[in-house]
């Protein structure tokens, strides 16, 4: 009886603790969001919309056109994902489905170590080695381009994409594979027609997480994209410098006078960035939700 009572108490304590921790994490996010709104909303009243969504970002001279920054972020992120997704998903398939056991044991920890490389190190690598390489081999005026940034970002998103996609493949029941092979399909056909579609929602999550990583990355991007706030409208824009929203905030926040229009403008960019990632996450959530409701796999 005593023992039972004791159990119930510890049960209660642990439950409360977990509940408090869980709710406090929601609380923190909410507080951060409120702070972001409080600091960022004023700019939408202080600066006219034509200026704010104009094409010229010269904050020192009261030109707060965020369009080149938004497009710069989108350009770099989309290119990074286009590079990283095929590589990431095929690597996950190789590690999970094709590689012999010993290779898997080596590869998996290595991939996880990749995720731990600090972004400033990758940025420095990009600035001193990758940028000259891109300039010399592709013959552009400078190697500090959106493309170089996308390469580094793709590299940074890869570990996330591989790990999550591999988990998703891992969760596909063995009976699917057995059934595929029993029907006379080759290993290749089983992988591409049965296992990968079966892990589809997990792979979509992997891509979205990778994208979130890419769009929010700051340091490495700031070091290799050249940070020129130009409108990336021509076809060769990908091989020209670009300025992302994150790099703008990081580069300018340190010196800006607190409470100035420029200060609020930087938080305004934060709000726009938040909206952008929110839309991406929402899109991911709805795709997964739809799949589930249709009675799709996993």
């Amino acid at each position: 009886m005593k023992n039972k009572n004791h159990l119930r108490w510890s049960e209660f304590l642990i439950q409360t603790l977990i509940r408090v921790l869980g709710f406090s994490s929601i609380g923190f996010v909410l507080l951060i969001f409120l702070f972001l709104l409080r600091e960022g909303i004023p700019v939408f009243f202080q600066v006219s919309p034509t200026n704010l969504f104009g094409t010229r970002w010269y904050p020192t001279f009261d030109l707060f056109g965020t369009l080149p920054l938004i497009l710069g972020s989108v350009l770099v992120t989309v290119t990074a994902i286009v590079i990283a997704v095929p590589l990431g998903v095929t690597t996950a398939v190789f590690v999970r489905e094709v590689a012999p056991n010993w290779a898997r044991e080596v590869l998996k920890p290595m991939i996880e170590v990749l995720a731990g490389i600090p972004s400033v190190v990758l940025g420095f690598f990009g600035m001193t080695l990758l940028a000259p390489f891109v300039r010399e081999t592709l013959g552009f005026p400078t190697g500090l381009t959106a493309f170089t940034g996308a390469l580094i970002l793709a590299y940074m998103a890869l570990p996330t994409i591989i790990s999550v996609a591999e988990d998703a493949l891992d969760a596909v029941p063995k009976s699917y594979r057995d059934a595929g092979l029993a029907m006379g399909a080759t290993q290749w056909q089983t992988i591409w027609r049965v296992v990968v579609p079966g892990a589809r929602s997990g792979i979509v999550t992997a891509v979205m997480l990778g994208m979130g990583r890419a769009i929010g990355e700051t340091m490495a991007v700031m070091m290799v994209t050249g940070n020129a706030a130009r409108m990336p409208l021509s076809l060769d824009s990908i091989f020209r410098p670009a300025r992302t929203m994150t790099a703008t905030i990081a580069a300018e926040m340190g010196e800006v006078a607190q409470g100035s229009v420029h200060y609020h403008a930087l938080f305004g960019i934060g709000i726009l960035l938040f909206l952008l990632t929110f839309i991406i996450n929402l899109a991911a959530a709805t795709t997964i939700f739809k799949k589930r409701r249709r009675g799709g796999l996993r």
């Binding site: 998996k108 731990g116 001193t128 400078t142 790990s163 988990d167 940070n227 020129a228 300025r243 010196e255």
Partner: protein, 301 residues
Amino acid sequence: MRKLLFTCYRFVSTAFLIVGSVGALAACRPSQSAPDVTPEANQAIENKGSDTLVNLALAWAESYMAQRPQMRISVTGGGSGTGIAAMINGTVDIANASRAMKPEEIDACEANGITPVEFTVARDAIAVVVHPSNPVDQLTLAQLSAIYTGEITNWSQVGGEDRPIVLLSRESNSGTYVYFLENVVRMGEDSDLLFSPDTLLMPSSEGISAEIRQNPNAIGYDGLGYVTADQKMVAVALDEAGPFVLPSIDTVNDGSYPISRPLYMYTAGEPSGEVRAYMDWILGEGQRLVPELGFVPLRTE
């Protein structure tokens, strides 16, 4: 499980960072509290003004306070105008300015019974740099302006090879950016010319020098003190008649190099006591700190 491990790894590394920085803070503390100083001996100097000068002024204040723990020197930025306004209101002992005081500002000071005394404490010079292999070794201000507004886009237009010009600049919040814009891009005139949108804004001096070192198309500028030996400096002239002058401590101090300016500190009245001692130290021993912050000291050592 693996995802969990991954998160744990992140968490642990963050925790290490936090512990590390707290440790560093704690380690800093003892040096600040000097043991045998009576409160009466504390001397405070208020120092305010130019954002260009703020880091140098801070370095001076820190170094000076390390030698004389009874001194309290508080340094704030805000711009030359802010510092001078504070001097007019009599709330600072020393005002920092990257420009000379205007006659009406001096009048306003004197109307409040304060006579500002001007000290040139350092000089700011901006060097224009290119890749060592670039054959261009002299440019006029007008050419620099045309290059940085995007009017000239190829090195062959200024006597170089047939290569596109890649523009490098410091970030828009640096004092160097504003000075270069006003005195080179706008050539000191009241215009609304801006840097070309294709200008690459580099977050640090290291960013500029890394790109200059490896890219023969690039042109950049930075404080003279930040220019390393592996970049080629360009001689600059006010107009085509010349003379084209390379920046150096001598050409900056004799005023022949066109992209340079004196940096000032103003004291409220002829300085005496602790303020006098501080100004003397800045003009003497303090000059050693000047090159470390990218400025030009008043004389060659």
